[in-house]
Amino acid sequence: MPRLSSYRDFDWVLLGFVLLLSLISVLEIKSATLHTKFHGFDHKQVQFLAGGIFLMFVISLIDYHRLIDIIHWAYGVSVLSLIAVLIVGTKVLGGRRWIKFPGGIHFQPSEWVKLVLILAVARYFWGLAGKELTWGDIGKAAAMVMVPMALVLKQPDLGTALTYLPILICGLFLGGIRVKQVGLVVLAIALIGGVAWKSGKHLKPYQQARINAFMDPDSDPRGSGYQIRQSLIAVGSGGIWGKGANKGTQTQGDFLPIPYTDFIFAAFCEEHGFVGAIGVLLLYFLILMRLIQNAQTASDLPGSFIIMGVVAVIVFQIAVNVGMVVGLMPVTGIPLPLLSYGGSSVLFTFLSLGIVMNIRMRRFVN
């Protein structure tokens, strides 16, 4: 157990920013669900946050080296749980993503696999520290990430599967992949992607439709283009100052789809305008800078790797979610960390932060 004085090294500033964003999240969820049957989701979000903060403190108590020690077990259990989901998972909205436990608890394994992968990748590259990456090393790292990714894609859950990629990329980047290797990998991905897109067999029709809708939102305004079109209208009509809390016509009039999860940023932009949006992005910037700073001050390589893995996932989610909301990215069901409603997302984010705190608290240990 760490000494209580370690909590002086707990990143209270980071926690402050995080809680500020969480407060914004609760208020916006309240507004976005005001006239819907999801009214009251803000209270549930507060409960998730309380649970998340509790778990953050709990996980910060366990030395992250202990976690790394058992990560191969956790990795194995992760893969098994993903296979289990495909077999016994509850089917919701056309995908098997949840395992239902007695007592009404829904558990989405793909969310905590993120955390497992962050730790596993850190552990793996720690083992390779100081030596040049061979194609074999790259291949093993890729396989480590691609196996759960393929299982999640099978559910199908493209959004969550994609969040595993930045963990791999971050690992390779920090692990010392060379420019020549990057070039070849990018080329290979482009080729495989191109062939897959051409053959059309590897994307579900709705996924292809989403990409088409991204290219031309007006092509099917009532179909696939509807969400992105309504999102653009919500964000754009917010203008510089926004329409005010609870006054977003797109949000309140139910034009904006799922304004409390994937499109919460669009709802926020409508009601609080460009100024509000900049404020939120600034908070994210401060949080991310704070995290990277913690990565710098980490006492050892796996600590830095883990924190940067967390940074990579959060940045990726922000880029994809906000990019989607403002029309720079195709629609993918990726929640916006700290803002979107949802237990799994909140728990992942706070567990990640717990590990970051954990690393920070132990930065003077060796």
Binding site: H65, G239, T249, D254, F255, S304
Partner: protein
Amino acid sequence: MQMTHHIDPNDVGPNGRAEKVSAGKLHAAQYIVAGILIVLITGLWRLQVLGADNFRALAEANRIRKVPILAPRGRLFDREGRLLVDNYPSVSCYLLREQVKDLDVDLPLISQGLHIPIEQIQSTLRRYQIAPKYQPIPLKQDISPDEQAFIAAHRDELPELETLDEQRRLYPRDGFAAHLIGYVGEVSEQMLDDPRYAFYSPGDVVGRSGVEQTYDALLRGKDGSRDVIVNSHGKELGHLGQELAIPGKDLKLTIDLDLQIAAEKALDGKNGAIVAMDPHTGEILAMVSRPTYDPNQFSVRLTKNYWNEIINNPDHPLLNKSLQAQLAPGSTFKIIMSVAGLQENVAQTMHVSCNGGAEFYGHFYACDKHHGAVDINNAIPYSCDTFYYTLANRLGIDTIAKYATSVGLGQRTGIDLPDEVTGTMPSTAWKLKTQHDKWFAGETISVGIGQGAVTATPMQLARALSGIASGGVFRRPHVIFADEVPPEMQQAIQESFPGSGDAIIPLTTENWQLITDAMANVTSSPIGTAYAAHLEGVDFAGKTGTAQVIGHDALAKTNKGHNTEPNAWFVGMAPRRNPDIVVAVLWEHGNWGNNSAKLASQIIDAYVNKQRKRDNNIRIATTPEPAKPAAPTSETPTVPSAE
């Protein structure tokens, strides 16, 4: 496997070196994060600062639905302010295509609830395929309370259904004055292509004939709208404001209800037309055409059956025979012949001996009777053909045509009603132009008695007699009082209904007196052809006409019954000098002009009785019973299946 062995956190690492991630890479990460956020901010700037106005407009369009408030159409009154055409409130159901989620799923329910066959809804949808998505499609008019309740009860499942309160036209019963008043209907595709109707959009109700068509711009008013805030399911969240409808203008027709009733009654069960007008002003006092139709059927629930019935009726109920029947005027044309003969100083001294006809250019032209010695004074009451054959022969076709044209034949009268026809007044120039042939003198003989190529409408004859009877002042016939219509619109209407309009023909007093006296003898003297129609104590004058529809020889050979009988004409006036009313009657296949004269006398009688009562200060209250809208029932099929 490296992952399998225990790692001591206090160890320096598997490779025996205390590694740290290079500061350079973490700095790079900071720049990458900052870069991504800047790209996102640029995206926000583009939408929220540069595109704000555009997106704000889209957001408004998204949530505000303009629900039209339809302007009630102006009502129509007779000259004494008695109501002819009214409105009644009605509810229609519209389909909002923007609200449709899955029409295939909803169709059976809509069909069942609104009692419309699925195929009919589909065909309606096809018709509106090219119309913009936001435009509501009318599904059913005049829906029943049951159907309204159905729509209200299925708000959530069928957000695409919308009801709209409307005012519908209520016309008098039994096609009363239908041709004069006209009817309203949905604006047609051809009309929308016409620049004059640029103002209308598909689905608008517009006057399709009669006064409804001519004065549509005044009657229709201006629709308003109510801005309703809706959510994406079309559920109303609140109201923003409204623009009230401006009701259409009520119009006073020149029609006299009492005379119209008399005229309707006179033609009941017959085919033909009656026009009564005030010769001083050109005001139309009554106008009837038979057979008639029910204009109520056009504004609501025009059924296929009714439409087929109207369209396939050989007597053409939609035709306004007052303006559109161009037929040989028969002997009524002799009045115009008399004007020509007298003004040319030919008829005054002309004497013929009628032996049942005369020979011209090697052809024998028959007269009805042996009238013996005939001059202009008895030629009119006798209606002696021989006299007018001779007169025509002496005047020549072009002189006849000059006078006939100057009293308005061969051209529209310019009445403010649609679809008037010109009739025909032949001349040498006319024949050369239309048939590329020269005029034969023999052809002039038949024209002298209103046969041959000459044709006229009841309206033309009414206007011609009005002018002649009032000494040569011809008025443009009209059905709306001029002061009801703004001056600039009067101008536009006159221009859109070109015709002979107002005109003056210098008719000498002697000639005028001679003609009107002779016409008085037609009805008041036992020698007159219409003595049977004379009215005791009323100075009722006129001229009969019996126009063959087929030649004498052909008539002898065929026995087609009813449709071979001659058309019976009569034009009359009262009183003889300076008349207040002129009546023209066409009774198709009515056999003898005398029969039509009896119909005209009924109207003159009604007119005189009214004057008597007015002079005795007795209040008159006769009103046609307005039709009551049939209570829409769920069993009423909108379009019956084709038989």
